[in-house]
């Protein structure tokens, strides 16, 4: 395990910031004390107007903010967009977080943007591409980077490594941590009929820095859909509990993008995660 990983502070149970919850968080609704830290979507503040940046300043007064970027496209073989990277670096420098996060994916190629996270083939070439792009990002962003596993509707042609080996090689080659998305892991395992137990036995859990979790939907055919729009399902709670026993994340972020509930309901889920983390000895 790299030394820098041990230097990341314990953050606890946090929330992915969404504007409808702004007043509760900034106004410090009594329940907001259950939130130990916030994750902000970096892209929402890149090249943003003054009022949006004022929001960031207000949030920063109350919480540690972790920037989570969507569109750097660290898996693009053509390399990353320097203009986007420079804007992201400016934001990260302003927030001065203990780390920042992106996805193990690509979102653009051939000068076109998918607007969506697409998977990489589990191959040595993809490991090299990510390592090269992360190296470029590190030239302008000093804080450690953690990479998130995404949901995959298809296995990209050209894959020749087991996913766990691919993850281990990427994290080692790029020298970064793992943002383990519990729900994405569950969805991929169910939809592709893979064993979660076997995955966890072989995965580089020593690299886990943070968790993501969110509820999912089910299609009529029984496939799990990563819609970011439901309460946390029991299967996610069970897997979260298991992962908290086996890995040592510094924090966990609850995500929700659709059907946003009242702040109180969200706080119930953040509170439950805090409790699970306490029981596993991960945070107070």
């Amino acid at each position: 395990m790299p030394a820098w990983l041990g230097g990341i502070p314990v953050l606890g149970s946090g929330l992915g910031f969404r504007p409808p919850w702004r007043d509760s968080l900034i106004g410090r609704d009594a329940q907001a004390s259950k939130v130990d830290f916030l994750e902000i979507t970096a892209d929402h503040y890149l090249d943003a107007p003054r009022w949006k940046l004022a929001e960031l300043t207000a949030l920063r007064e109350h919480f540690t903010l972790i920037p989570h970027a969507l569109d750097l496209s660290l898996g693009t073989a053509e390399g990353i967009d320097q203009g986007y990277l420079d804007k992201l670096a400016e934001l990260v420098e302003y927030l001065d977080p203990p780390y920042w996060s992106e996805h193990l994916a690509f979102t653009k190629a051939g000068g076109r943007e998918l607007g969506h996270l697409a998977p990489l083939p589990f191959s040595n070439e993809a490991v090299d591409v990510v390592a090269r792009n992360v190296e470029m990002a590190k030239r302008v962003i000093a804080q450690p980077l953690i990479l998130e596993n995404i949901t995959c509707d298809l296995t990209m042609p050209g894959s020749h490594l087991p996913e766990t080996v691919f993850l281990g090689e990427v994290f080692a080659a790029a020298d970064c941590g793992w943002l383990l998305d519990v729900t994405n892991l569950l969805i991929n395992s169910r939809n592709h009929d893979r064993s979660i137990g076997a995955f966890l036995d072989e995965a580089p859990l020593e690299r886990v820095v943070q968790l993501h979790y969110v509820g999912f939907a089910r299609s009529s055919s029984g496939r799990l859909i990563d819609n970011h729009g439901a309460r946390i399902n029991d299967e996610v709670w069970d897997l979260m509990e298991l992962i908290l026993q086996r890995a040592s994340p510094r924090g966990a972020i609850l995500e929700r993008d659709q059907n946003l509930p009242e702040f109180g309901e969200i706080m119930g889920e953040v509170g439950k995660t805090r409790q699970l983390g306490r029981e596993a000895g991960r945070w107070n």
């Binding site: 003054r50 190629a109 051939g110 076109r112 607007g115 969506h116």
Partner: protein, 186 residues
């Protein structure tokens, strides 16, 4: 095929229906690395359009309520006939371009003229964001408050009354976005 080429092909297949139709024919099978995952590629393509439409629909919420099923039909028509936007502001650009597309449909008589004011009202904050403007002014043919009320309560502009209105948009100072004030002139 190297990763660079395969990613470019994936993006083309996911975004271009004409490319999909060509590369998923038997004749060019050997050119298509993704031939064996046609169903997944088609599902990805559908999901990308749905995602774009969902984001644009949230931004143009009144327009979506007003047009109902026509919103979906027109968005697909627009998406088929234009390239996806780029950059940090791509979702805002998408909404603005789609509203311009609908405005041309209004001009062609397909939708009521009052839709133009709804489109203007919903896209001014997007333009202000992209141009970093703190103030914007417009003349509307209809009072925006009445338009909003009508759309939300009846889902229609059938009973809209013309009322020339001067509207001032301002950026808030407290992280709350953009606010407007309307001044009826007649």
């Amino acid at each position: 095929m190297e990763l660079r080429e395969s990613q470019q092909q994936f993006v083309r297949l996911a975004l271009d229906s004409s490319c999909r139709e060509r590369l998923f024919t038997e004749q060019v099978k050997e050119e298509n690395l993704f031939y064996s995952v046609e169903a997944e590629i088609r599902a990805t393509a559908r999901s990308l359009i749905s995602k774009r439409m969902g984001i644009v629909g949230n931004t143009l919420a009144l327009t979506r309520t007003l047009l109902g099923a026509d919103f979906t039909e027109k968005f697909h028509e627009y998406a088929r006939n234009s390239k996806e936007p780029h950059g940090i502001n791509r979702h805002r650009l998408d909404s603005v371009r789609f509203s311009q597309y609908l405005a041309r449909e209004v001009q062609a008589g397909e939708f009521p003229r009052a839709l133009r004011d709804v489109l203007t009202h919903e896209t001014i904050p997007l333009q202000m964001w992209m141009k970093k403007k703190r103030l914007a002014t417009r003349f509307y043919r209809h009072d925006p408050g009445s338009l909003q009320h009508l759309v939300r309560t009846t889902g229609s502009l059938d009973n809209v009354t013309t009322c020339l209105t001067f509207v001032i948009w301002r950026e808030s100072r407290n992280g709350q976005g953009y606010h407007w004030s309307a001044f009826p002139l007649i």
